[in-house]
């Protein structure tokens, strides 16, 4: 009772809940699910970009891209560590990913078909991720909030790098311009879907939102974040000279926001349920790496045990 009141008080006063604090079981499981999904997204999200490391068009770009993919691995680590403060461990969470019991962001089920996709992912996908993540820097759970602060700093760096890739292409040859435009055409709508289903209407799926808001895990609704993202991104597209693939996109003076067209929620649900271009491939690649590495992890553990035994002796 007293503990529950303490937890409620923390959340109400916008203080951080720490691992040692008592917390409702539902809060804990919600956080674990969300943080795991977030960590998985970082790890699976390495794949579409890693696809271009060997083919990057210049050594500078190769280095930047390699560093970026490596940062994503780092983000995955922070987030698994943060989740571990809630008493699960990484290998358990990875198993759930591999078995399809926990999800990752559906955006990574789209293929990277050209070099411009490395730019579009930085600009649009990281841009959307930041929009989702900045509020999490004030999340009620301390370790998650602190992890997000680190992640967001690096993500905004990545977002600028992605923008710069497209900026260079958009000022390049006709083929390069077309490549940049094509990437924006393919990634725009999936990026908007990253904010999740709409808050209301037929396609809504208001599962956890209200409770997450009450707990201080979620701060803004999906549609609010989506609108913020669009408002931020449209001027950037104009600056790039890229046309966003939505004929209904226009400034609404009255609302003070950009109006936009209908999102294809059928596609969203289809990809989420497994029928996306790369769902199978992403998990297969991940599972293969994990299984191929099993003997290495076992060896490391065996060696550590031997070393510990020697130190005792």
């Amino acid at each position: 009772e007293a503990l529950a009141a303490y937890f409620d008080g923390l959340v109400e006063d916008d203080q951080r809940v720490e691992p040692r604090d008592a917390m409702p079981e539902a809060y804990r499981t919600t956080l674990i699910r969300q943080m795991a999904q977030h960590a998985h997204s970082e790890i699976i999200g390495m794949q579409p970009e890693a696809n271009w490391i060997s083919r990057a068009p210049s050594l500078r770009r190769k280095a930047i891209l390699m560093a970026k993919v490596q940062d994503e691995a780092g983000h995955g680590l922070y987030l698994y560590s943060a989740a571990e403060t809630l008493g699960v461990d990484r290998s358990e969470l990875l198993d759930k990913l591999h078995q399809g019991k926990q999800k990752y962001s559906s955006i990574f089920n789209y293929p990277t078909l050209t070099w411009a996709d490395a730019g579009a992912i930085g600009w649009l996908v990281d841009g959307a991720a930041i929009m989702n993540q900045v509020p999490l820097c004030r999340c009620s759970y301390g370790p998650y909030a602190r992890a997000m602060i680190r992640v967001c700093k690096e993500e905004s760096f990545h977002q600028r790098q992605g923008f710069e890739i497209l900026w260079t292409l958009a000022r390049g040859t006709e083929e390069q311009k077309a490549m940049a435009q094509d990437a924006a055409d393919r990634w725009w709508w999936p990026a908007l879907m990253m904010f999740g289903p709409p808050d209301s209407g037929e396609a809504a799926s208001n599962g956890h939102t209200a409770q997450s808001m009450a707990w201080g895990i979620k701060r803004f609704s999906n549609d609010d974040l989506r609108q913020k993202f669009i408002d931020m991104t449209v001027p950037q597209a104009q600056k790039l000279g890229i046309t966003l693939p939505d004929p209904d996109l226009r400034w609404n003076e009255e609302r003070g926001h950009w109006d936009f067209g209908d999102i294809d929620w059928d596609e969203f649900w289809r990809v989420l349920k497994g029928d996306g271009p790369c769902n199978e491939q992403r998990i297969r690649t991940r599972v293969e790496a994990h299984e191929d590495g099993a003997w290495v992890r076992e060896a490391a553990a065996a060696y550590a045990d031997k070393q510990a035994a020697q130190e005792v002796a």
Binding site: I43, M46, Q47, A50, I53, S54, R55, A56, P57, S58, L59, R60, R61, K62, A63, M66, A67, V69, Q70, A73, G74, G76, L77, Y80, W115, I165, T168, L169, G172, T173, E175, Q176, T285, R286, E288, A289, D292, G293, A294, W295, V296, R297, E298, A299, A300, A302, Y303, A304, K306
Partner: protein, 254 residues
């Protein structure tokens, strides 16, 4: 002719770093644990950095008109113009195989860059001064893994030993002298590879002993000719992948 030897010497160093970075990049998303995705990514990044500096320097010394920059040299040379040893171009094997390769290659690079600290090519000396710390970290990383795998489980011991065997035919080439190195060493610009061999072998040998592993028997065959642009058949595929985009858009800026 002396200048061409200088260029070739730098290209040999730069191509080793570039091509190995290209192979290591393949580990990202395929490593046995996430920490290792990061670690091998780091090694790859260091090597790309070295490659960029070395190729840039090679272009400067070459002084073609117009000067070829790092990307001209990386993306627009043909296979026969690449001067890396065959060790670094071999496809990714299992993790033990990679650690065997990394141990040999980083041990070689440690001795190499230490010797180049006093190069009469001041730019090269400066590159070596930065790189020598990086490659010490690489060697340490490989050493830690060779110990863990060699003295881990029976399976890992066996795989580690096999990895050493697989890599062995490619090791001698690291210590093979060639015209460009002979010239560079005479000029006080470079180092004769054969002078590094003893220290490299000793350094690797110590690790293997601690790791309960044995130095493989002399192999039935030896890789040769990388410094003269003779590569294994896998190299063409590596270059096709690496260069395709750049070659598809001649003159473009990225």
């Amino acid at each position: 002719m002396s200048d061409q030897h200088h260029v070739d010497y730098l290209l040999g160093l730069g191509d080793d770093a570039l091509i190995y970075a290209q192979r290591l990049g393949g580990w990202l998303t395929h490593a046995p644990q996430i920490e290792e995705d990061m670690a091998l990514g780091n090694v790859g990044l260091d090597l790309i950095g070295q490659a960029r500096a070395l190729l840039t320097r090679a272009g400067e010394v070459e002084a073609a008109d117009p000067v070829r920059d790092e990307d001209d040299l990386a993306m627009l040379r043909d296979e026969r113009e690449f001067r890396n040893v065959q060790l670094v171009e071999q496809p990714r094997g299992d993790f033990a195989h990679e650690m065997a390769r990394l141990l040999w290659f980083s041990s070689y690079q440690c001795e190499l860059y230490a010797a180049l600290l006093t190069s009469g090519d001041e730019t090269l000396a400066a590159i070596a001064a930065k790189a020598v710390k990086e490659v010490e970290y690489h060697r340490d990383h490989a050493t830690q893994w060779v110990l863990r795998l060699g003295d881990g489980t029976p399976e890992s011991h066996e795989r580690m030993q096999q990895g050493l065997v697989a890599v062995h035919p490619f090791v001698a080439e690291l210590g093979e002298d060639h015209d460009a190195a002979r010239w560079a060493s005479e000029q006080g610009i470079g180092v004769l590879p054969s002078t590094l061999t003893e220290a490299v072998n000793a350094s690797v040998g110590q690790v293997l002993e601690r790791a309960t592993l044995t130095m493989p028997d002399p192999p039935r065959w030896y890789a040769r000719g990388g410094r003269e642009g003779i590569h294994s058949e896998v190299m063409g595929y590596l270059l096709a992948e690496m260069q395709h985009l750049a070659r598809s858009h001649p003159g473009a800026t990225w």
